[in-house]
Amino acid sequence: MEWEAPAIVLDARPYGEGDAIAAVMTEAQGVHRGLARGGSSRAKAAIWQAGNLVQVRWVARLADQLGSFTGELVHPTVALAMDDALALAALSAACAVAEGALPERAPHPRVFDGLLSLAARATTPDLAAQIRWEAVLLADLGYGLDLSACAVTGDTEDLAFVSPKSGRAVSAAGAGSWAARMLRLPRFLLDGGPGTPPDWRDGLRLTGHFLERDAFGHHHRPLPAARIALYHRVCDLAEEPRPHA
């Protein structure tokens, strides 16, 4: 059994003295793990940094075996993003969410395309695009948000909130006295704009709620620490006190 494809490194944990168990994502294979020989050695550790784009080859005797990876660096995303705290936090969060939320060996081409686009532009982080990508990931897993119309009034205008229970949009008028319990819906999720730091904060809080409750909660796992760190960094950008994590 073997395949070769462009991939995004999601995770690499040291195994033994110089090897690593790497998790990569490809368009056709989805999230896939394998043993990267020498993956945590000085010579090859630079390849298997989470966020790098690599050309990866997986070989195993049987399809259900862990198998082993060999990889060649295609785009040194991590090295380019390393000096920018927000860029590195965004890249790490995206990789951690994909690695933790997606099932192994199940293709999610839309999620892969989105993650590839985020990684390719990692030096100029686009938080609005990343939050839209998280919404796509939720939809691919069956937990999609419904932002088409107000769940209370049916209006398609003035949508300002999302119900934390149903994931459906709610207009300002429809929310009424329940507004304080709703999740704020940033405009860029409706109009495709770039958004501002307060919008990104609201967007991360919105998708983070459903990631935590549905994508990770169903596996009894918390939201990844890298995703929480990104939210805290964006709260700093929005000049809002950090919540207690």
Binding site: A45, A50, A89, A229
Partner: protein, 197 residues
């Protein structure tokens, strides 16, 4: 093969970094062939080190004294602290004689994937050292990995408001290295960190 003592010796040696069962057997055999000249001095050295070595209460270096010899040296520049991940990194820097300030050993790096948070590292002690005053610059000499860079950003966010200069070691072409064999990430980092000559 041998008695239980030999098996135990091989078992313990094979747990050391760089040694597997095969190389542990070779090392054990070499010692067993000359126990007076190789084995007993090694055993004595191991016992002495285990009894005498302690962790420095200031920088977390390993030494026979607390504070360690570096922290106690009056010739050191006490206004500059170099932050490293482990004691092996401190030793590597000391071999170069390029840094004449003090050190701070973190004991690892923040790692979201491994669940290592700020409370698991020697970070609070560093912030306290800087907060006590007299520190002009903190040099972050952490590994050029995602975890190392994340830790550097975490520290920089907290140290800059304390009024100290925060720098990090350069990433780029190693001395004696040829450009055509370097990985793309290192070359990209070297280009970005270029400076006028």
């Amino acid at each position: 093969m041998g008695g239980p003592e030999i098996e135990r010796l091989i078992g313990l040696l094979s747990k050391l970094p760089g040694l597997g069962p095969r190389s542990a057997r070779r090392a054990a055999l070499r010692m067993l062939q000359q126990p007076q000249s190789r084995m007993l001095p090694l055993a004595a050295a191991l016992t002495d080190a285990a009894r005498a070595i302690r962790v420095c209460g200031v920088c977390a270096n390993l030494d026979t004294t607390d504070p360690c010899a570096i922290c106690a040296d009056p010739r050191r520049d006490r206004a500059v602290i170099c932050v490293v991940e482990g004691v092996s990194d401190l030793w590597a820097l000391e071999r170069t004689h390029a840094h004449d300030g003090l050190y701070h050993v973190l004991g690892g790096t923040l790692s979201a994937l491994s669940g290592i948070g700020p409370d698991d590292l020697n970070l609070a002690r560093l912030l306290a050292r800087v907060g006590e005053g007299g520190v002009r610059e903190v040099i972050l000499a952490l590994n050029a990995t995602v975890d190392g860079a994340t830790t550097s950003h975490w520290l920089a966010d907290r140290l800059r408001p304390m009024g100290v200069e925060v720098s990090r070691v350069a990433h780029g072409v190693p001395i004696g290295g040829a450009m055509d064999v370097l990985d793309e990430g290192t070359i990209a980092a070297a280009i970005r960190a270029r400076r006028a000559v």
